[in-house]
Amino acid sequence: MATDFTPVTGLLGGALIGLAAVLLYAGSGRIAGISGILNAALEQGDGRRWRLAFLFGLVVAASAWLAFTGAPARSGFPLPWLLAAGVLVGFGTRVGSGCTSGHGVCGLARLSRRSLAAVLAFMASGIATVFVLRHVLGALP
């Protein structure tokens, strides 16, 4: 489905995400990488409380916002593709040590060469994937 370019809310929303990352780093020296926080929250007893608090806040705030604004939710996305995508995202972020937030928002802010390489890698493969699925195979809308 086509979407509108929304530069103002994009910039403002991005600024809130940046502020959240700075707050977590300033408050306790932690990196706001969602994949790492989720993995550690599931696997480590140590530091589980703050990680669950962070994830709880994220889910509650976004849910309330989406419910309040009545944003439509996607439905009917093919289940096999959804499962494959989830497994790849979980596998890839563990092997590559981070996702859009950890490498993108925090890693780039720490001037990490590794994070820059990771961001370029997942952007390139994401663009290639959408190109193949939409324009070569016509497999997904």
Binding site: F5, P7, T9, G10, L11, L12, G13, G14, A15, L16, G18, L19, A20, A21, V22, L23, A26, S28, G29, A32, I34, W50, A53, F56, G57, L58, V59, A61, A62, W65, L66, A71, A73, R74, L79, W81, L82, A85, V87, L88, V89, G90, F91, G92, T93, R94, V95, G96, C99, V105, G107, A109, R110, R113, R114, A117, A121, S125, I127, F131
Partner: protein, 137 residues
């Protein structure tokens, strides 16, 4: 402020930012990646807006040397770019390009889109698979 209260506030801000920016809409993410098609450049501005705050913020803390609760900041990032980093990130990008979800927006959709729970469970399974398949770095 205690560590968990700071983390809760950061999570709330993060969730608001994701929803306001529109990144909770997987179609918006897929259209960002569809450079030659229905391109929606919004995601680039979301990253730009985030870095406009996080770049100076992190630099300020780096100069300060410690977090406000006295914790040490993480050591300087390693410089070595290896096959694991690139391969893992490339696989992540494929999954991202299929469904339009990275981990944050998937969690943000848990109470909103029915498909998000399925995606998150698959994500956790994929992460556990990777944990079994690789040795710790």
């Amino acid at each position: 402020m205690s560590r968990w209260a700071t983390a809760l506030l950061a999570g709330l801000l993060f969730g608001c930012g994701l929803a306001l920016s529109g990144m909770t809409d997987p179609d918006k993410v897929l259209n960002f990646l569809d450079v030659g098609g229905r391109w929606d450049p919004t995601l680039a501005l979301v990253l730009g807006g985030a870095l406009a705050i996080s770049l100076p913020g992190f630099a300020w803390l780096q100069r300060r040397g410690r977090a406000f609760d006295g914790s040490a900041l993480p050591p300087s990032p390693a410089a070595r770019v290896d096959a694991r980093l690139l391969g893992g990130s490339a696989l992540f990008g494929i999954g991202w390009g299929i469904a339009g979800y990275c981990p944050g927006p998937a969690l943000a959709n848990l109470a909103h889109a029915d498909e998000a729970l399925v995606f998150v469970l698959a994500l956790v399974a994929g992460s556990q698979l990777a944990r079994l398949a690789i040795r710790p770095a």
